[in-house]
Subunit: 242 residues, 2 copies
């Protein structure tokens, strides 16, 4: 036995990372099931809504690792741990296992739960949720996440922006944490319903929000921010498994 | 006097960098005029074709720098030196001037001309041209560029890929230079004619090439490569000045 079971919603790839600091990088995704948040615009409800809980298989580290190895053909690459909120799963032993075989691990979480094993990651993406999500950010928890990560993984902030209030929130976060790179991402207002991953995405609407966000950032001379859309949504819409 | 005149095709921004390692980063572009190559699919012929030579104003370092300062509101950011081939212009003094005020400089060149001042750059993007361009790569020159950059700028390779031959070329380059990160970019087969920057772009075609390229890279388990489309083309088509 190498640790407690991990609740897994899906494992897929290799495909390219569609977002943020690792955009364009071949990646296998381990999406865990379950979340302590319920964002109004969640685009992975099939990994969040407890109605889908029976689909989240409890898997051993061995079983998760076998699947990652199979998908990657045994060639080391970056594994993205996402969710839901992967921070509520016992992922430390999986990371250790993968590291022993030369794989790298990136974790994406809202920063509401801090774990000691964050220090073992290669990349930590903290994605606190802006007002449009309907969620409240507990900055003390975010501080905890950043403290644990100090001296460990490359750590970045990624903030989804739908509107002016979200943008102001992103600026506040950036001011609070000036040492960390900030990635801004236009929100997808047409997230897939969990039962239909072929639902239509409003690409034009997302791209218009992207243009608006570029204008905001350059107009404000916020030259340290990076602005990137979700490339996988542009390529594959709301489809799963890519 | 701070150096010889620079032949400038256009200076614009800030907008986001659309390609490669700095994708999404607010940037002012200084596009120089003139090129020692003439790629079949060149997407900046207005800075390459000598028919447009009279539009390439010879500017002093002071004048270029005043324009960059004006556009950026005096707030330091990354300046992208592109072309044409900016390596054939005397850009060393401009870089020194900008550095003294906290600006950063990225240069994009095919690597056919090596300059000592490459060592002063913050980012060097070497973009050797694949067979579909109709150009021949002089790898000795590429070696020279990389030697000069050693210990200086962050250096990456970016290769445009249109087809299987280009892909094989990209793999050869990556094998020759294993220490440098490789960015692959699907080519735009609908580049703008120089006299018409509103010409239609075949976004679907570019995205299909992107999907093909993602499949090639993941199928080959080339997990160190990054695959990124030209984001500015997706956002603005062939329009100039954005």
């Amino acid at each position: 036995m190498t640790g407690a079971a991990i609740r897994v919603s899906e494992i897929f790839g290799p495909t390219i990372q569609g977002e943020g600091v690792l955009i364009g990088q071949p990646t296998v995704f381990v999406r865990t099931g379950g979340c302590d948040y319920r964002c109004s615009w969640c685009d992975t409800l099939h990994a969040v809504d407890s109605e889908y809980r029976e689909e989240w298989l409890p898997m051993s580290v061995d079983d998760v690792w076998s699947e990652v190895k199979l998908l990657s053909g045994g060639v080391p690459l970056t594994v993205s741990l996402s969710g839901g909120n992967p921070a509520i799963q016992p992922l430390g032993p999986l990371i250790d296992r993968g590291h022993s075989e030369g794989y790298r691990f990136a974790l994406e979480t809202q920063g509401s739960v801090a774990r000691d094993w964050f220090a073992s990651l290669d990349v930590l993406v903290l994605s606190p949720k802006p007002p449009s999500s309907g969620m409240e950010t507990d900055v003390a928890r975010l501080d905890d996440c950043l403290s644990i990560a100090a001296g460990g993984p490359m750590t970045v902030l990624k903030i989804v922006v739908f509107d002016d209030r979200d943008y102001a929130y992103a600026k506040d976060i950036a001011r609070r944490y000036p040492a960390w790179p900030v990635y801004l991402q236009p929100g997808n207002h047409t997230p897939p319903p969990p039962e239909d991953d072929s639902a239509t995405v409003d690409i034009d609407g997302i791209m218009n929000r992207m243009l608006w966000l570029v204008d905001k950032v350059t107009g404000d001379k916020w030259f340290d921010a990076r602005v990137l859309p979700q490339l996988h949504v542009l390529l594959w819409g709301n489809r799963r498994g890519v």
